[in-house]
């Protein structure tokens, strides 16, 4: 049992993990998974109940070393320290057994560790300079390096692309062969089927079911998570209009992408795919004005927007969901209503005022539309679960009925049902006449697209129409086939 | 003798009556601390009904609010020592409107009515110090002036008088001026640096013995310059204030002189004139019965108390306030 103020995060939940198995924990956003992780790793005490390792009671909360011998973890929230080097992050608080730190030896150990996981990162680089993916890989390498016999991975793949996920799975399989026990949390259920032997479902802070994965139909698993019959998402068919709502011409940004042209029509969803560092995110961020291109122009709704200027893009009718919600997505201390309505603050009252009642009304409507689970429009977004915070960011993108929508990795860390809601929201907007660009590492997301532009080393190499198979698309993304 | 006549002021609570409010300017210098110690003693001697004192910590804004509070609590006369002589004008105006007489100690407000200013002439300090050093050095050489805060009128008066006197009477002497902000740490650093640059410095004028004395001696000691007056390496030091430690240093021959700023007389005559103004007594310019002169100011009167120069010859004089404390 775990409470946070009025919120019950865990309510009589229990989980038993057999030695040597890889055990999946699934559930909707806010089901209490991460809370359980922090209790199992000794970061927080449970209000009621106890943790047992191999039948023995867990060590005292203060004895961090004892906990770390028993369990290692990749937390959902980054535990990287940006101002320190990769090498030091890997061996944080165990740089030396005692005595003086020998940096050269430490770097060598770090190099070796990263090599075994094929992470190509300079160990002397500052962790803050790494990309999101690289940071995640460093965290995984660190967790696996403790030599603990029990490892917890809380959504390790939410920020990884296909090949990196594959490498992680290879690693997990070999660990399991060595008898290591793992708890694996993910919102990608196919990963659960691929790597896990048994699965536990949490819902509304309670334990629902634990079963072997084999012989647990996908549909039933989803139903157990959502508590109701849920159909798989069906992307809708539509015919794009003629009007160009978003266009980029001759865009180049040194080190990211080169000479990209792109047009999005009203009623069209254009996907942007590519492996890590292909430049897709950089391109999308240029379209919305977060980055200033070295060359080229961006046109929204026929208006040429000032390069690198978000407000002018928004004024021209753009809405967007940034890559990292914590970084650019929301202001944690401000309420759901306020976060969602920042772009239309000027329209919620006269003479520069913001009418709280109109703001609230608009927010209630968005909360309904996107099915955001919150105490009310007045709750700070910082208190929401990850998926719901992401929905608030979506709400902000949609609040001004944009005619062009750019969404970057919109479903990272979002549960099945929320994912459907978010993709549905994109499609709804497009049906209302908007055009959308959808950037994603998740091939499932890209299925809603009318066509997918594949980028490779900073160039658009192929325009793939609807109807592709995973295999075909991955081949293009990896540069194997043009 | 004081020219006293009895033209009683109206509304001041009548003769002989009324509480006196007092504000101390600061509590972080030895001179003022001695003054603070003398005040209750002198008040008791002269039977002044003194209210609990306030302290404006060298902040004129605090002084203004303190005075408001004192008046609010029923003060019929105010003794203050405004370290910022301009910014008190409005307050003095208000006090005049309320017919509350004001005695200003140590500083002379630029504007606004005061019934009496009790102070020694700070320009005279600077001039005395200049003359002392000039004569000892024979009209040539280099001297350092460790100045106080440039934002204080007394510091500025001493500095200007010293500078002008040197320029006119001893043009052969080079003066280095160090703005120490009444800080010992700055004084030590600046003096040390200046002696490094000009090892032939032969005289030092310290604006405040309380803060400058120990650092100066420490620097001189470090440079092996703390030698008796006969020695050619001797540096002549004249201080200001006349606290007991300065007198002790004069006895030991570490410094040569000081200008004794009479903390006891400040307290005594502050109380005297406060009571006198409540009693309705008034005064006229001219010499007084206590070796001082009252002069006329545009906005009141000023009693210029004597500030003796103390050297080895008269350092044991019992009348020096520095010999009376302990």
């Amino acid at each position: 049992m775990k409470r946070f103020g009025p919120t019950v995060a865990l309510n009589g939940a229990s989980i038993a993990i057999a030695e040597g198995e890889t055990h999946a924990l699934v559930g909707r956003n806010g089901a209490g998974k991460s809370t359980l992780v922090s209790i199992l790793t000794g970061l927080q005490p449970a209000d009621e109940g106890e943790v047992l390792f191999a039948g023995e009671p867990a060590p005292a909360l203060a004895d961090r070393d004892a906990w770390r011998r028993r369990v290692a973890c990749v937390y959902q929230k980054s535990t990287i320290i940006p101002a320190l080097t990769v090498a030091e992050n890997l061996f944080l608080n165990r740089q030396t057994e005692g005595g003086v730190i020998r940096w050269r030896a430490l770097r060598a150990r770090a190099r070796e560790l990263l090599d075994t996981y094929e992470v190509d990162v300079d160990v002397q680089a500052l962790a803050g300079d790494l990309s999101v993916e690289q940071r995640q890989l460093v965290e995984i390498a660190r967790a696996l390096s403790f030599g603990a016999r029990f490892i917890i991975l809380d959504e390790p793949t939410a920020r990884l692309d296909g090949p990196a996920i594959e490498r992680l799975f290879t690693r997990m399989r070999s660990l399991r062969e060595q008898g290591v026990t793992m708890m694996y949390i993910s919102h990608h259920l196919d990963e659960v089927y691929e790597i896990c032997q048994s699965v536990t479902v949490f819902r509304d802070a309670r334990h629902i079911v634990t079963r072997p994965v084999a012989g647990f139909p996908h549909g039933e698993l989803v139903d157990a998570m959502t508590g109701e019959a849920t159909a798989a998402y069906q992307s809708r068919a539509r015919t794009p209009g003629e009007r160009v709502v978003l266009a980029g011409e001759g865009l180049s940004l040194a080190g990211r992408y080169r000479e990209v042209d792109l047009t999005v029509r009203s009623g069209e969803v254009v996907g942007l795919a590519g492996s890590a560092s292909s430049g897709k995110v950089g391109l999308a961020e240029t379209l919305v004005g977060l980055r200033r291109p070295d060359a080229g122009t961006v046109t929204v709704n026929g208006v040429r927007v000032r390069p690198g200027d978000v407000p002018s893009a928004l004024r021209a009718g753009l809405g967007f969901v940034p890559e990292d919600r914590h970084h650019e997505g929301f202001v944690p201390l401000l309420s759901v209503a306020e976060n969602a309505t920042i772009p239309i603050a000027g329209k919620l009252g006269r003479f520069g005022t913001v009418s709280p009642s109109r703001q609230r009304a608009r927010a209630v409507q968005l909360i309904d539309d996107l099915d955001i689970k919150t105490e009310g429009p007045g709750q700070p977004v910082g208190d929401l679960s990850g998926g719901n915070a992401q929905k608030v960011v979506f709400a902000r993108a949609l609040v001004d009925d944009p005619s062009a929508l750019v969404v970057i990795n919109p479903t990272a860390g979002v549960d099945v049902k929320a994912k459907q809601a978010l993709l549905g929201a994109v499609e709804d907007a497009v049906e209302r006449g908007a055009g959308a660009v959808l950037v994603s590492d998740d091939l499932d997301d890209l299925r809603v697209c009318d066509r997918v532009l594949v980028m490779f080393h900073g160039r658009v190499v192929k325009d793939v129409p609807r109807g592709w198979t995973d295999h075909e698309l991955v081949a293009v993304m990896e540069g194997i086939e043009q | 003798a004081c020219g006293s006549s009895s033209t009683s002021t109206t509304g001041s609570g009548g003769a002989g009556g009324g509480k006196v409010g007092i504000d101390y300017p600061r509590a972080d210098s030895d001179f003022w601390n001695s003054y603070i110690k003398y005040v209750p003693q002198m008040a008791a001697e002269q039977k002044v009904d003194l209210m609990p004192a306030t302290n404006s910590q060298n902040d004129v804004a605090k002084l203004v609010s303190n005075v408001q509070a004192l008046v609010g609590q029923g003060a019929k006369a105010i003794v203050m020592a405004p370290q910022d002589t301009g910014a008190i004008a409005t307050t003095l105006q208000q006090l005049e409107n309320k017919k509350i007489p004001v005695v200003s100690v140590d500083t002379r407000p630029d504007k606004g009515k005061v019934s009496m200013v009790v102070r020694a002439d700070n320009r005279a300090y600077g001039t005395k110090a200049c003359e002392f050093l000039g004569e000892k050095l024979g009209g040539k050489g280099k001297v350092v002036q460790l100045m106080g805060s440039l934002s204080s009128i007394n510091g500025r008066d001493r500095a200007e008088a010293f500078r002008e006197c040197m320029k006119t009477k001893f043009p052969g002497i080079t003066v280095f001026e160090e703005p120490t902000e009444w800080e010992g740490s700055k004084a030590a650093s600046m003096l040390q640096t200046r002696l490094e640059q000009n090892p032939d410095i032969k005289g030092i004028y310290m604006h405040a013995g309380g803060v400058h004395l120990a650092p100066t001696l420490q620097v001189l000691k470090q440079k092996n310059l703390l030698v008796p007056p006969g020695d050619p390496k001797h540096v002549f030091v004249i201080s200001n204030d006349g606290i007991p430690e300065e007198l002790e240093a004069i006895r030991k021959g570490e410094i040569d002189a000081t200008v004794s700023q009479p903390a006891d007389l400040y307290a005594k005559y502050a109380m005297f004139y406060a009571k006198a103004s409540l009693d309705g007594k008034t005064f006229k310019p001219g010499p007084t019965d206590h070796d001082s002169t009252i002069i006329q100011l545009p906005n009141g009167l000023e009693d210029q108390l004597p500030a003796p120069l103390v050297t080895k010859d008269n350092v044991d004089d019992k009348n020096l306030w520095g010999n009376q404390v302990k």
Partner: protein, 330 residues
């Protein structure tokens, strides 16, 4: 999904009163003051407290806005003395210590506000355009601006002032000093502006997450720059009020205020980390500090021990606002 065992309203309702955690402290001070000294609760004395705090409260208003936007300004305290001093020197004749430019005396307040705004603009320029640390830029500016007063005035007090600059700080309107009215109106504007206006809300967004604010289309640089300019202007106005109250401009007018300004803002609930706090809260902080000073003065606590009592009361107020506010402070 979150299951709510309790109704959410108590939480929300409490949050709304978080600005007012100092109100019990103020009440305690009023009672204590009344018990200790009969003068304390008189309207004359309370008016004095308000008048004495009027100028510094404008600095607290300015600093609260700057802190909420996630920045820092130490140089405000030097502006309090320097802006009116320079403005006055521009209009008075050289014989009275001015520059002798002979500008009309009526210009002195506009000039003063302009000087304040210019200082704020320069701060903003360095901090926003050069991306320098706000703390250290404004620390350097604190020193420089004070020097820019000492230099031209040669450390002297300016006491021959044009009437126009004396008026606001000394006039009485409807039985209350004008400075109280001015501070009151500006605080009301600040409270409303930060609660109900788009521009005010954007300060919270910028202070809470500057990247998110930028991504949401707020013109972050422009807003921040505006806040610095407004801050400098308010500090200059505080200087005008203080000048009128004191009748002259001393060379250390405003010196040492900034610590009290921060203390007032922070015990009033404004976070040093940005994005948190209200103008109303900051106002309660000013009042607490003013009342404490007044009581200490009335009781005539020895100047030597005053700081101890004073600091201890700030600590206690801090602890009370921590307990009532319920959240760890940054």
């Amino acid at each position: 999904m979150t299951t709510l065992t309790a109704s959410p309203s108590p939480r929300v309702r409490l949050a709304r009163f978080r600005d007012l955690t100092l109100v019990p402290v103020i009440l305690i001070l009023l009672v204590v003051g009344a018990v200790l000294d009969p003068t304390f609760l008189t309207s004359g004395n309370l008016t004095n407290v308000l008048q004495q705090q009027a100028a510094i409260s404008l600095l607290v208003l300015a600093e609260a806005m700057i802190l909420i936007a996630g920045k820092f300004d130490l140089s405000l305290e030097s502006t309090v003395g320097m802006a009116p001093a320079i403005a006055v020197m521009l209009v008075i004749p050289a014989s009275a210590g001015g520059f002798g430019l002979g500008l009309p005396g009526g210009l002195v307040i506009p000039l003063c506000l302009l000087v304040g705004a210019a200082i704020g603009a320069f701060n903003g320029f360095l901090i926003i355009k050069f991306q320098l640390s706000a703390f250290i830029v404004t620390l350097a500016m604190l020193i420089i601006v004070h020097g820019l007063q000492l230099g031209p005035t040669q450390g002297k007090t300016l006491f021959e002032l044009p009437d126009s600059i004396l008026y606001l700080g000394s006039a009485v309107w409807l039985g209350l000093p004008a400075s109280i009215w001015i501070a009151g109106v500006l605080f009301a504007a600040g409270i409303a502006g930060l609660a109900y206006f788009r521009i005010g809300r954007s300060l919270y967004a910028i202070g809470g997450n500057i990247d998110a604010a930028r991504a949401a289309g707020i013109r972050v640089d422009r807003v921040l720059w505006g806040v610095f300019i407004l801050g400098g202007t308010l500090a200059a106005l505080a200087g005008v009020l203080e000048t009128g109250r004191l009748g002259a401009i001393g060379s250390n007018q405003g010196v040492g205020w900034i610590f009290m300004v921060f203390a007032a803002a922070v015990i009033g609930g404004v976070s040093m980390d940005g994005g948190k706090g209200t103008i109303l809260g900051a106002l309660t902080g000013v009042l607490v500090i003013g009342l404490v000073q007044n009581i200490l003065t009335l009781k005539g606590v020895s100047g030597f021990w005053q700081p101890v009592v004073y600091g201890a009361i700030i600590l206690v107020a801090l602890i009370i606002s921590r307990i009532a506010g319920g959240k760890a402070q940054d």
